[in-house]
Symmetry: C2
Subunit: 187 residues, 2 copies
Amino acid sequence: MSKTSGNKTLPIIHQRAEVARSKIFRIESLDLEFTNGATRQYERMAGSGRGAVMMVPFADDNHILLVREYAAGTHSYELGFPKGLIDPGETPEHAANRELQEEVGYASDNLTFLHKVQMAPTFFNSSMHIFIAQDLFPQQLEGDEPEPLEVVSWPVEQLDLLLSQPDFTEARSVAALLLVERWLRSK
Amino acid sequence: MSKTSGNKTLPIIHQRAEVARSKIFRIESLDLEFTNGATRQYERMAGSGRGAVMMVPFADDNHILLVREYAAGTHSYELGFPKGLIDPGETPEHAANRELQEEVGYASDNLTFLHKVQMAPTFFNSSMHIFIAQDLFPQQLEGDEPEPLEVVSWPVEQLDLLLSQPDFTEARSVAALLLVERWLRSK
């Protein structure tokens, strides 16, 4: 029986094999047959299935908080919204609040779900729930970061300026920023 | 001599080793020492260094074009803007025009660079140049897709509706959409 995605019939996975593995990555090879008979062997990252969260915290009505953190992929310090992986058994909301406390030292009882995005569905099964966090109160949790993250306060009136910062580059932070601007316009 | 990123001193990479490899992925392990003395072993994807492009093509002033394409990572058909990797020796603009011809059968002499994003700098060195493509004219190139991509025309007046489509999920397509809306508002 064919499986469908929307109204399109998915290719058949004839074989699935793990081809490489490291401490945190697992790579699979898929032997696919498309509905037109074409066959391909595609590689993809096998997901941990954990998902991630990203938070846009409002320090007050006029300021949001970002973090500057070392990024190994680009070997650079990157400016972006606090984010983290969802722990096994945790809800996205719980993960958002936990990461907020670990990364910026604040908690929130007022989380607004904004949007859910995929990092890059061609190669990964890696979703991210984006939240707005308001009514912050100081509460610090110990995280496993090697060094304290630099917390950066940014005026809401100048959100657009973030787009021209050379270290504000991650697509998910850009999407979150523009979604927050859209949310602010709708209020 | 310490290297810096912005005004922050980068961690020292004491060792760098390839720990796993597949046909298209290479995983590295880095032994890092941060300026506060903390040490960590981080894994990251070693980039091909190729970079990628994404295009928001305007079929006319009132319609943009998207593609619906199989995504192996999520084993689903995903709706998004045409995109592709930059070939060795190719400029981003050339890649954008080539992928446009391969994926939607149109070329453009009127590309506007919109923004450059990183996919996820924590683990990858994978940039994407986002372009607007206007004044399209029919020109088809053969690509290596297993099946023709479904080309979807979308009214500019209803761009916002894309955000509620269950198969429009990729963060870079969401970012591109919102950046295009911002560009349209500025005109």
